[in-house]
Symmetry: C2
Subunit: 581 residues, 2 copies
Amino acid sequence: MTVLDKINSPKDVKALSTEEMNTLSGEIRELIINKVNTISGHMGPNLGFVEPTIALHYVFNSPEDKFVFDVSHQCYAHKMLTGRREYYQNPEKYLEISGYTNPNESEHDMFIVGHTSTSVSLATGLAKGRDVRGGKENIIAIIGDGSLSGGEAFEGLDNAAVLGSNIIIIVNDNEMSIAVNQGGLYDNLKLLRETNGKAECNYFKSLGFDYYYVENGNNVEDLIKVFEEVKDIDHPVVVHLHTLKGKGLKEAEEYKEFYHWINAGCTDPNAKSTTETYASLTREYLIKKYEQDKTLVVVNPATPGAVDLNQEFRDKLGKNYVDVGIAEEHAMAFISGIAKNGGKPVLTLLSSFVQRTYDQISQDLALNNSPATVLVNWGGIYGADATHLGLFDIPLISNIPNVVYLAPTCKEEYLKMLDWSIGQKEHTVFIRVPFAPLSSTGKEDNTDYSVLNKYQLTEKGETVAIIGLGSYYQKAKEVKEKLQKIGIVPTLINPRYITGLDKELLEELKLSHKLVITLEEGCLAGGFGEKIASYYGSSDMKVINYGAEKAFPDRIPLQTQLEKYHLTTELIVKDIQEALK
Amino acid sequence: MTVLDKINSPKDVKALSTEEMNTLSGEIRELIINKVNTISGHMGPNLGFVEPTIALHYVFNSPEDKFVFDVSHQCYAHKMLTGRREYYQNPEKYLEISGYTNPNESEHDMFIVGHTSTSVSLATGLAKGRDVRGGKENIIAIIGDGSLSGGEAFEGLDNAAVLGSNIIIIVNDNEMSIAVNQGGLYDNLKLLRETNGKAECNYFKSLGFDYYYVENGNNVEDLIKVFEEVKDIDHPVVVHLHTLKGKGLKEAEEYKEFYHWINAGCTDPNAKSTTETYASLTREYLIKKYEQDKTLVVVNPATPGAVDLNQEFRDKLGKNYVDVGIAEEHAMAFISGIAKNGGKPVLTLLSSFVQRTYDQISQDLALNNSPATVLVNWGGIYGADATHLGLFDIPLISNIPNVVYLAPTCKEEYLKMLDWSIGQKEHTVFIRVPFAPLSSTGKEDNTDYSVLNKYQLTEKGETVAIIGLGSYYQKAKEVKEKLQKIGIVPTLINPRYITGLDKELLEELKLSHKLVITLEEGCLAGGFGEKIASYYGSSDMKVINYGAEKAFPDRIPLQTQLEKYHLTTELIVKDIQEALK
């Protein structure tokens, strides 16, 4: 029987000796490594936060005392200690729980969290709720050093500091963001580490916090001591822990960025893929462009790995590659500035994190028509955690005036769009990089993309027209082929522009078509298809929009989703037959 | 001839003596006061930044050296010194320029800016653009102390600090945000002022900046001295100026919040309106609620005046009223925390600033189904500056899953919705407070709003159904009345829910209607009507959607917009007749 076997709730942690806690740390680490290597997950941050989690549960009384784990990248040990160890001990149950905190799993989780920099604000709210109802519990936010660069974290700290009552902010400083930390703040954290927390110039104190520093943030005894000191404190306090990301797994301690998140089975930090992908295309294109034009600046907010901007790429571009850290809002305004002063900025980020920048797209970029290029990756329908969906970038981006949002369907279009966007001076351009295997026509794309909102009629038919947007153009083609087999010869359209209607073409369709089908890989509500439906609203043309419903599907297998949304070739063809009756 | 009469470009400032600059300050102040009192505008912040503006233009060489004015609240003097004095000197030309910086007016303005906390990021981008093209000019961001609480400003500072080249951040510390400053940072600014900038614990230094302090930020000579010192500096620097908000107008120095923005003709800070408005209703309702339930917490991000939460209200609620400062992201996460720990939060903010919180609505609130209430004010179509439109809240909010977004049409519905929302525990609820004179039915609303997406069929007719959303329900009624006069008896519907379809009712309409009209006071793209069009897409029902086009109309008179969008009763009736032919 292991020590963990005895832990059925946090109460059981309180009965452990120091020695048992150290043994427990080792057991937890082994389970983290095994599970992550099997089903993927956050390796480094979880390995680094084992001892602090044990010490937190030893000192505080969850769920009365409340923990908020920022971005949930460090919550595995917490889950194991709060009644969910079987999901780490038993490989058959690995997939039954989320990798993020989730109140549906346990009363020890306060929020569903998967985006960064939110914990301090959420915890400040919990503390305020406690205060107005006269509660006395401790409220504890746990935030990594990387997450501190996000604006929401700063806003939270600035407000938490003046709360006037108990709130404990645990800063888990493992000297890393997802990639290397970026920003002036990190020199201050370094200074604090080097002075054992004694430096007078202290970011947290400048915001008004009482402040504690623990040099060995992976030492259970030191941690218990400081947590006991701050427990039930009557004012806001920051406890700054110096921890080791990846602790206990040598490779993870060494290759910190690679081991932040591990894809199951992928354990060679130097592995190079030889498959051509949209990511490798992007990388190669940008390097070539940079070699010709030193005003190109590639910007990424803390997730270069996710978009395959490898170390070689970063080294090659040097100062023309800027990782701004977790700071998506800044990233959008930054590229607007670059574009307005002679640079050619390309920002590349993930669909889910575009959500952090609506106002910056609107005010900093679009309102100013700043000629910047933004590559939106991972947009689409897939079986992700509810916190990391790619469903909402089309409704979010495409309803902002002035933005040109392009949806390439293949390699050649993508490269042409990139080239046009970087070269032009009139528009803010977003490109939805297909989250799909590379598709190629083999023929160079000679489209002039400065003629906005011109759809491509790829095959002329009649009665039915299928408009397949971006990554779903392939699906549109499949539907077309299937229809042909039953004697319907439909028109096939590649709209390429998400942000505008080709009214001329849409009018033309009226002459020989009864039904228009739209296909988009994203949330229908507020999306592309609805605009086509609205356009034809007062005419006799019938329209069916296909896409995802407005929801937060949580780890729902892709096929299940597609069937639900009628997004299979068979179901679409059936619907068409029905509509034509 | 005044001194200002000689200033046709910033170059002319350089020829002035100190005495002339002081005279010029007085002249500029007088023009600010006259213009703001005549056509409304930002009084206090502009009065406080006259000397710094003169000194900046004396030392730096605009437009080669580039200024970015945060939120543009302090740009009037800059406009007067950069060839636009006639628009302040000649009352007939008052309205011909924007109250915000605008590159379409002058090469001395770098961006259209009207939302806060963006200047440092934009300037960092300008600096990066300069660096990659090998330029040498100074880049200067000018940001108020109030704007520093916004997350984007922090992200910008954190990144600007590691730029490695010239960037000069002028912090215009007038000890005020729009209302009183909120947050721990402001104690640090106070400490810096009290120690003449000498305190070791220094927010800006903690982020890595070189730092200068000027106690008398309204003294031209002191300012010129420090600006000359930092001109052409080769690294990031903060110049912290202590200025006086409202300087030169006694009342503005005293009543700083009231004089931040002045409505023409409104000069009594203690004036009380006796007219009943949605704002006064809200205030009274919330006070009554608070008296019954001390877990109610009213939250506002730095704009209590704009939503009429007067000092009396704030005093009455005490700790149950929280102004979080300019920190909209925090505000959303904060109310989620309050709701999850026994409090009943109500956040009230403006449509234009909801834009700063998409991800927080999605991840912090909606994904967690946190039972918080958010009041969205100033949503609608009106002749505002392009930076302050109310057009986009429906597309932004209503396409986020789980959110219930309600559109009351009158006082009674509004109060019932508020009451339901605050009492319930299942949903994140937004309410679009009509930006219109109070409308009242005189009859209590007994609707059970927990039955989601149930539209109200208010008048049963045939052939045509008019769905009038929220503030445009009145317009729908007018259309109905006009139609009746020409022999069409339409059905009238008050949908009340922006975020869902009443499919049962929509199906029923098919039986005796040919045409459905939707009216919404906002951007059509991504909005309410398109969903109705999509719903009916495959049926014989015709649909016409009315609302604003996707654009940033800049100070376009309301009537011009309405005609363009066919949003007048006459044009709608014409369209209906056409469609029924």
